[in-house]
C-alpha cells in the first residue's frame, strides 16, 4: 500500500514537472500573413509549417483575436519634438490607446535623456490617456535605453500577447547601453516590436555612450543597421518611416489594428539547446507573405 502511494505520488510529481516544463518551454510566434498587403483570415494550424533551427515543429495552438493584448508605448519626448509634432504624437498615442478593448492592458514610457514610466501596466485606458495628455517635450534622446526598458518592462500577466510600439525622431544622443545589448535582448522578448520613425534617421552620433562592447562576440549584424530595424526584424515587427508628424495617428492606429489580425502560434521545441534558435514560418500552400520573429535566445 505504501509502495503504491509512493508510486502514485511520483507519477503526480512527474506529471506536474512535465506540465511546468512544457509551459516554460513553449515558444510563441506572432505571425502576420498577408496577400497583396491584405491580411489573410481563416487559417488553421494545419496551414502552417514552422521550423526551429531547421527542424519541423508541431504547432500546439493557434489563436488570433481572442488573445488579450498588452501594448507598451515608448514615446520620444526630446527637444526636437517640441511644438506641433509633439501634439501630433500625443494625439496618435491617444488614438492607439482608444483602440484597446476592456481586456487589453497598456503602459506608457517616455524618453528624453531621462526615461519615465509615466503609466505602469493597467487596464485603465483613461489613466494612460490622461498621462499622455500631460506630456511635455525637452532634453536629449536615450533611444537605446528606452528600447531596453520597453522590452524589459513587458507585461508579466500570463496569457497575453505583447506589442511594443517605439516612436522616435531618430538620433540617440544620451543612452548608456550599447545597441548590441539591446538587440540581444530582443531575442529574449516574445512580443513584437513596431517602430515609427519621424524624418530621416540620423547618423547616430553619440556623445555620452559608455564606449564599450559588452558582448564578447562581435555583433556584426548591427554594423550599418539601425537599432529599431534590428528590433523589428528580430521580433517580426515593422519599421514605419513618416515624413511628417501629421501622419502618426494613422500609422499608430494601423499598427494596433493590424496586430489583431496576426496569428499567435505556439509550439514546444524539439531541440531545447541553449543559444540562438532560428525560426521559419511558412504556409503549406506557398501563397502569401509571412512576417514573424526571426528567432529567439534560450
Amino acid at each position: 500500500m505504501k509502495g503504491a502511494a509512493l508510486l502514485l505520488a511520483a507519477f503526480v510529481i512527474a506529471a506536474q514537472q512535465q506540465t511546468f516544463r512544457s509551459e516554460a518551454d513553449a515558444v510563441r510566434v506572432d505571425a502576420l500573413v498577408t496577400d497583396g498587403g491584405r491580411p489573410i483570415a481563416g487559417l488553421t494550424a494545419a496551414d502552417f509549417v514552422v521550423t526551429d533551427n531547421g527542424l519541423p515543429q508541431k504547432i500546439d495552438a493557434i489563436a488570433i483575436e481572442d488573445v488579450p493584448l498588452s501594448m507598451m508605448l515608448a514615446l520620444d519626448a526630446s527637444d526636437s519634438m517640441r511644438g506641433r509634432p509633439f501634439e501630433d504624437l500625443k494625439e496618435a498615442a491617444s488614438a492607439a490607446i482608444a483602440l484597446l478593448l476592456p481586456v487589453d492592458r497598456v503602459a506608457v514610457l517616455t524618453f528624453s535623456e531621462q526615461l519615465r514610466w509615466i503609466a505602469p501596466w493597467s487596464g485603465a485606458r483613461d489613466r494612460a490617456g490622461a498621462a499622455v495628455k500631460t506630456l511635455r517635450a525637452g532634453g536629449g534622446t536615450s533611444l537605446a535605453d528606452a528600447a531596453y526598458a520597453a522590452l524589459t518592462l513587458r507585461d508579466e500577466q500570463p496569457g497575453r500577447r505583447s506589442l511594443a510600439l517605439i516612436f522616435s525622431d531618430g538620433t540617440d544622443t544620451a543612452s548608456w547601453l550599447p545597441e548590441s545589448i539591446v538587440a540581444e535582448k530582443a531575442g529574449r522578448f516574445d512580443g513584437v516590436v513596431f517602430a515609427v520613425v519621424l524624418g530621416n534617421e540620423g547618423n547616430n552620433s553619440l556623445m555620452h555612450r559608455s564606449g564599450i562592447q559588452l558582448l564578447r562576440e562581435e555583433w556584426s549584424s548591427l554594423a550599418g543597421r539601425q537599432l529599431l530595424l534590428e528590433l523589428a526584424d528580430t521580433t517580426g515587427g515593422e519599421v514605419y518611416r513618416e515624413a511628417t508628424a501629421a501622419r502618426l495617428k494613422e500609422t499608430f492606429t494601423r499598427i494596433v489594428k493590424e496586430f489583431r489580425t496576426r496569428y499567435l502560434l505556439t509550439y514546444t521545441p524539439s531541440d531545447k539547446s541553449a543559444g540562438w534558435h532560428g525560426i521559419e514560418v511558412k504556409l503549406k500552400s506557398g501563397n502569401g507573405r509571412i512576417r514573424a520573429r526571426r528567432g529567439y535566445s534560450r
Binding site: W176, E179, S180, W219, S220
Partner: protein, 353 residues
C-alpha cells in the same frame, strides 16, 4: 500684577510683535538651500522670487561666520548659478546679483574648508564657459579675475586645467568622428580607423599632461581611463578608474565605478561588474545609467525579475528630474547639442546629498 500685564500687552502691541522671539530672518533662505541639496525641484525659481535684501542678509550672515556649513555654502552657490542662468536667458536684471552672491559664498566655503578649492575652480571653469556661450562677457571677465586669484592658491591645478579642457575637446571630437565608436562600442570590428587613432591619442596626451602637473586631478584620471578603455588598454583603464574612485566628488566616483564596471563586464567578470554598478547606485542614488547598467547585467545573467525591479524603481516618475553624471561627462558635447542649462548639472551633481 494686572496693571503690569496690561502695560506689557500694550508695549507688545505697539512693537508690532517685534519683542516676541522670531524666526531668524535668513531661515527661509537656508531652508531653500537644504531643499535644493536633497531634491532638484523648484528651488532656483523660488530663490528668484525672494527679495534681494533678504538674500543679501542671509549671505552676509554666512560669509561672516566661521561656523557655517561649507557644503551648504557650496550648494547655495550652485543654486545662485542656476538662478543666474535663468535670469540671463529671460533677460532679467538680477543676473549679476546672483553671480556675485555665488562668488561670495564660494569664497567663504573655501575659507572654512580649504579642500573646497577644487570645487571652486571647477565652478569658475564651468561658469566662464557658460558665460562665453551666452555672450555674457562682463561676467566672463569677472570670473577671469576669480581665476587669477585662484591661480595663487592652486597653480598646479590651474595649469592642469587648460590641458584637461583640450583633452575634452579631443575626446569629444574623436567620439563624433568615429562611426563605429559612436554606435556605443569600441568598434564593431577589431581594427579602428587611422583617423580615429590619432584623435584618441591626442586626447590621452592632454589628460596625461594634466595628471603629470597635478596627480590629484581625478577628473583627468577618469577621462584618461575612458580613453584607455577605448584604446583597448584595459589594465591602464582599470588603474585610472580606481584612482578616480578616491575622489571626494560623487560625480567622479559614480562615473569611475560605472565605466570600471563596464570594463569588468566586457571581460566577463560579471560579479565584479555587479559590485561596481551597485556601489555606483549606492554612492549616487539620483542617477539613471547605474540602474540601467545593473538591470541589463542582471538580465544577461538570467535574473530577469531582479532586472525588472531595479529598472522599474529607476524609472518611477516620482523621482522627478534626474541629474545623471553621464550626461555631464563631456562638456563640449553638451554645448554642441545646445544643452547649455545642462552644463550646470556638472556642479549640481556634486551638491546633491
Amino acid at each position: 500684577m494686572a496693571l503690569l500685564l496690561c502695560v506689557a500687552s500694550l508695549l507688545l502691541a505697539l512693537s508690532g510683535g517685534a519683542l516676541l522671539p522670531t524666526q531668524p530672518r535668513d531661515a527661509n533662505y537656508w531652508a531653500l538651500v537644504r531643499e535644493y541639496r536633497s531634491s532638484i525641484r523648484g528651488a532656483p525659481e523660488r530663490l528668484a522670487a525672494m527679495p534681494q535684501e533678504e538674500i543679501r542678509l542671509a549671505v552676509d550672515g554666512a560669509v561672516g561666520s566661521r561656523a557655517a556649513d561649507a557644503a551648504d555654502l557650496r550648494a547655495a552657490a550652485v543654486m545662485h548659478s542656476e538662478a543666474w542662468y535663468r535670469a540671463v536667458t529671460s533677460r532679467d536684471a538680477s543676473a549679476s546679483f546672483h553671480v556675485a552672491q555665488a562668488e561670495r559664498l564660494l569664497d567663504a566655503a573655501v575659507r572654512i574648508e580649504p579642500k573646497q578649492l577644487v570645487f571652486a575652480i571647477r565652478w569658475v571653469d564651468v561658469m566662464m564657459g557658460l558665460s562665453l556661450e551666452l555672450n555674457q562677457h562682463g561676467t566672463a571677465k569677472l570670473l577671469a579675475g576669480s581665476a587669477v586669484r585662484l591661480q595663487d592658491t592652486s597653480p598646479a591645478r590651474l595649469r592642469a586645467l587648460s590641458y584637461y579642457r583640450e583633452g575634452l575637446s579631443f575626446e569629444h571630437h574623436a567620439g563624433t568622428r568615429s562611426r563605429r565608436l559612436t554606435a556605443s562600442s569600441i568598434a564593431m570590428r577589431a581594427e579602428v580607423d587611422d583617423a580615429d587613432i590619432k584623435w584618441w591619442a591626442a586626447a590621452a596626451g592632454q589628460y596625461q599632461h594634466a595628471l603629470e602637473l597635478d596627480p590629484t586631478f581625478h577628473s583627468a584620471a577618469l577621462h584618461l581611463g575612458r580613453v584607455r578603455m577605448l584604446q583597448r588598454k584595459g589594465e591602464d583603464a582599470a588603474r585610472l578608474f580606481a584612482q578616480a574612485e578616491r575622489s571626494d566628488d560623487p560625480r567622479e566616483v559614480y562615473l569611475a565605478l560605472l565605466l570600471g564596471g563596464s570594463l569588468d563586464e566586457r571581460a566577463g567578470r560579471f560579479d565584479a561588474a555587479e559590485l561596481k554598478y551597485r556601489e555606483a547606485l549606492r554612492r549616487y542614488p539620483a542617477g539613471q545609467a547605474a540602474p540601467l547598467a545593473l538591470s541589463q547585467l542582471l538580465s544577461r545573467t538570467a535574473r530577469e525579475a531582479e532586472a525588472r525591479a531595479v529598472l522599474a524603481a529607476a524609472l518611477n516618475p516620482a523621482r522627478g528630474r534626474l541629474v545623471e553624471p553621464l550626461w555631464t561627462y563631456l562638456r563640449p558635447a553638451r554645448i554642441d547639442l545646445g544643452y547649455l542649462a545642462g552644463l550646470l548639472d556638472e556642479l549640481r551633481v556634486e551638491v546633491l546629498r
